[in-house]
């Protein structure tokens, strides 16, 4: 699993690389021997995590920013992978010198979460006890487990308090969880295109994706590694389903409409079940590409982590009460055409923060690209992010002066 794709294979992700790139980056690996107790009651005895860092941690260790990844991204947030010049970080338009999250100012950390498949310990890793891949035996991890694992990386790097923890979608859930579970370690929580919990519809889409994988004859109960096969068809269909939810109806209409892929003479239909429309071709291509680099068990695990995230479950559904321990300043951003995690879901979080009198800023960006918009370079969106991080940077400078005087 060498190549890390841009998170949603966003069409515009490559445009901003030329200037302001952090340059060639190398993955570092951290090994942890101390067992990680999990929300499920199980324990991850020992594990490795793949990380990347950009910029320099200042003397006060006050300028660290943690970037949390979503379903199919990784620790490779920005820059160009040392071993593959085509492998550009999934949030390269956001993170770099002079970018909204400016690596000339901030020390930025990307961590591949445990359970994923880009270098950190996951279902495809070899289980020391058996000498075979974990497969179905790999424990189910939650957002809260990831936060604990990330906190250990921060400890090793000498970061006590993050200037900001940020993420989009599932990454936003981690930013939210950080603010609630380790409040003293988060000064700012930046939650983009996210939700306080999945809706029944969200879970339903995840379940369709999981059934596609699990019912693939090559899945072998999750131990397909031993059979030397991969449930490629199932994973591909899972990705197709997911991909539909990342795009808006308008976006699809504009990109594909009802355009036929290769019409018969005179523009006629083929009256069959092969690829007739452009949108089918696109989805199949995305699915097949994805199935070649992503691990099916990881897809199951991460969609489950999405389903289980519900911090208000502990407080009888009262999100405000769940958020009460947070001491961070919050920035929430949503996109008007995002129907996966619609603006109303972000507003729920804003409302809960306001109920607690907690500081929150909320930008609702009128963008056409659906859920995928959080990865794209939209001037209004990036303007708000840049301004917010400039304020954080100004706070650091002031703090620095106070420390020196």
């Amino acid at each position: 699993m060498k190549t890390t794709p841009s998170a949603q294979d966003a069409p515009h992700a490559l445009t901003a690389v030329a200037h302001g790139s952090v340059g060639v980056v190398h993955t570092q690996y951290m090994h942890f021997d101390e067992p990680l107790p999990l929300v499920s009651g199980q324990t991850l005895e020992a594990y490795d995590l793949a990380i990347e860092t950009y910029g320099t941690l200042n003397a006060q260790a006050s300028n660290a920013v943690l970037i949390c990844h979503a379903l199919n991204a990784s620790h490779h947030v920005a820059g160009v992978a040392a071993d593959n010049p085509d492998d550009i970080g999934w949030w390269d338009n956001m993170v770099g010198p002079g970018k909204p999250v400016d690596t000339d100012i901030f020390f930025v950390i990307g961590i591949n979460n445990p359970g994923s498949c880009f270098g950190s310990t996951g279902p495809a890793s070899i289980r020391p006890e058996t000498g075979k891949p974990w497969g179905a035996a790999f424990p189910v991890l939650t957002v809260e487990d990831w936060v604990q694992a990330q906190a250990r990386v921060a400890d090793r790097l000498g970061v006590k308090t993050f200037a900001a923890v940020m993420g989009g979608s599932l990454g936003g859930m981690q930013a939210l969880s950080w603010a609630m579970t380790l409040p003293e370690r988060v000064a700012h929580s930046v939650v983009v295109a996210s939700t306080p919990r999945l809706s029944a519809q969200n879970i339903a889409f995840n379940e369709v994706a999981r059934r596609a994988i699990i019912t693939d004859p090559e899945f072998h109960g999750g131990d397909y590694y031993a059979h030397g096969v991969v449930p490629r068809n199932g994973l591909s269909v899972a990705r197709m389903v997911g991909h539909i939810t990342y795009l808006s109806d308008d976006d699809m209409a504009e990109k594909f409409g009802r355009t036929q892929r290769a019409p018969a003479a005179g523009g006629a239909y083929h009256y069959g079940y092969g690829v007739e429309f452009e949108v089918e071709s696109y989805l199949r291509y995305q699915g097949e590409k994805f199935s070649k680099y992503f691990d099916a068990n990881t897809y199951l695990l991460i969609t489950r982590a999405l389903d289980y995230f519900d911090p208000a479950r502990e407080t009888e559904g009262d999100l405000a009460r769940a958020l009460k321990p947070a001491t961070a300043d919050f920035l929430l951003v949503s996109f008007t055409t995002d129907w996966r995690f619609a603006p109303a879901r972000s507003r729920e979080i804003v409302r809960a923060l306001l109920q607690n009198g907690q500081p929150a800023t909320y930008a609702e960006i009128d963008a056409p690209h659906g859920h995928d918009a959080f990865l794209l370079d939209d001037a209004r969106y990036h303007g708000v992010m840049r301004a917010y991080f400039s304020r954080i940077a100004a706070g650091l400078t002031q703090l620095n002066r106070e420390v020196q005087s």
Binding site: R347, V350, R351, L354, Q355, G357, P359, A360, T361, Y362, A363, E364, I365, D366, R380, G383, V384, A387, Y388, S390, R391, A394
Partner: protein, 203 residues
């Protein structure tokens, strides 16, 4: 220094509104623009403030200023806010352009203990003169032609006070202005702009 500067650059009605806000209180500014009032109140009175603003550019200005802002259309109502969540709610020079005037006023006294509104005074005497001459008034406080104005619910001081009475609002204070100068007498005719501080409760 910086607070003096922001005081000087603040519009006259905002200066007065700022005087009406208690130190260390919580303030909701509806249609907060670039966040000038909230920024000023934060610096000078240590308030906890949040603004509501629809425009992308103004939301950006607020973030640049470090003012907390919620991007939302006021016409969608204040469902985001709980009953009596703030000490003071402000609606400055926005009432006249809102579709649901009665609704927003009722919502204001729901979400905060005290409400402050400011609006251009349609009763300003040159307006009447202009109408007598057969033309819709176009003045400094209302610089729009009739076919190109966001102002759809203009009123006079008396009009507003009648509406307040209808809702059983208690008007605590009124301030009136003409071209940044406070107007003390014959305000109904002489002022271009009025600000009111009121509560829902009868005192």
């Amino acid at each position: 220094m910086s607070s003096q500067f922001s005081q000087m650059s603040l519009r006259a009605d905002l200066v007065r509104i700022a005087q009406w806000v208690r130190p260390d209180s919580s303030v909701l500014d509806l249609g907060c623009g670039d966040g000038a009032l909230l920024g000023h109140l934060k610096q000078t009175k240590g308030i906890r403030g949040v603004g509501v603003e629809i425009s992308d550019a103004r939301v950006l200005s607020c973030v640049q200023r470090g003012v907390h802002v919620i991007q939302q259309n006021l016409e969608d109502g204040l469902a985001m806010f709980d009953d009596q969540q703030f000490d003071t709610v402000v609606l400055s020079q926005t009432l006249q352009s809102m579709h649901r005037t009665e609704h927003i006023l009722r919502e204001m006294v729901r979400v905060a203990r005290e409400a402050i509104v400011s609006f251009p005074n349609f009763g300003y005497w040159p307006h009447g003169w202009s109408i007598l001459r057969g033309r819709m008034p176009v003045t400094g406080q209302m610089p729009y032609d009739w076919y190109d104005t966001p102002n759809i619910h203009l009123c006079t001081l008396k009009d507003f006070e009648r509406l307040a009475a209808k809702f059983d609002f208690t008007i605590l204070e009124r301030a009136t202005f003409n071209d940044e100068q406070e107007v003390k007498s014959l305000a109904g005719w002489r002022s271009t702009l009025a600000a009111y501080r009121f509560t829902a409760a009868q005192s």
